[in-house]
């Protein structure tokens, strides 16, 4: 499966871009060789213009774009690393760290979407790697039928990042 890019604008005039492309940076070569013909896709979300808060229609559009990956490719899996650098617009300094905020937001979006659409065969793994004063979040979305490959990826991240 080739990646794809969607650009969309909100009612407030903000412009965002979501892109899906093959992800090769997060896993070890050994893990990649063990997942067979799985297409591991990464997601990057870019705010091109504007600083307004994201509305539910934007979140819904992102959910549909993710869903499209699974519709287009029967052996797709999605892995992404929550951004910790770009601040969340209109939040106070004492709010939770941006990466945790994004991880919780994306988890809630997944929960809501599978409930709304009554999807039973897609799963999410939330992988958290923490040190003394910092925490990083990965998400892995996969079909039930790829649970074994998801386990390989989960273990690779867990072992690779706990050394």
């Amino acid at each position: 499966m080739e990646g794809f890019v969607r650009v969309f604008s909100t009612q407030q005039g903000d412009i965002l871009q979501i892109s899906f492309s093959e992800e090769t940076n997060l896993l070890s070569k050994e893990a990649i060789s063990h997942i067979g013909d799985i297409k591991l896709m990464g997601i990057e979300l870019l705010r091109v213009k504007g600083t307004n808060s994201i509305g539910t229609n934007v979140l819904h559009y992102i959910e549909e774009s993710v869903s499209e990956v699974f519709s287009l490719c029967s052996n797709a899996m999605i892995v992404y690393y929550c951004d910790f650098i770009s601040p969340i617009p209109k939040t106070n300094k004492n709010a939770m760290p941006p990466q945790e905020y994004r991880s919780r937001l994306f988890e809630n979006m997944f929960r809501r979407y599978i409930k709304q659409k009554r999807i039973r065969d897609i799963r999410l793994s939330v992988i958290t790697v923490s040190g003394i004063d910092e925490t990083y979040y990965f998400h892995l979305i996969y079909r039930d039928s790829h649970a074994m490959q998801a386990s390989i990826i989960g273990n690779d991240i867990k072992e690779g990042y706990s050394k």
Partner: protein
């Protein structure tokens, strides 16, 4: 089996955390580069979906 599972790695080493931070920084640089291309109108012909 739950549809959401949680895998946690605690007490990651300094080198691991540095590597993760580096991944995030590289991602931010890629996105910044893309944003600059937008500002230089390199993507003017891209179709924009209006929500």
């Amino acid at each position: 089996m739950a549809q959401i599972e949680y895998i946690t790695v605690k007490n990651a080493t300094r080198s691991t955390l540095n590597r993760l931070r580096q991944i995030g920084i590289e991602k931010a640089k890629r996105l910044q580069l893309m944003k600059e291309r937008w500002e230089q109108h390199c993507y003017d012909n891209v179709e924009v979906v209006h929500l």
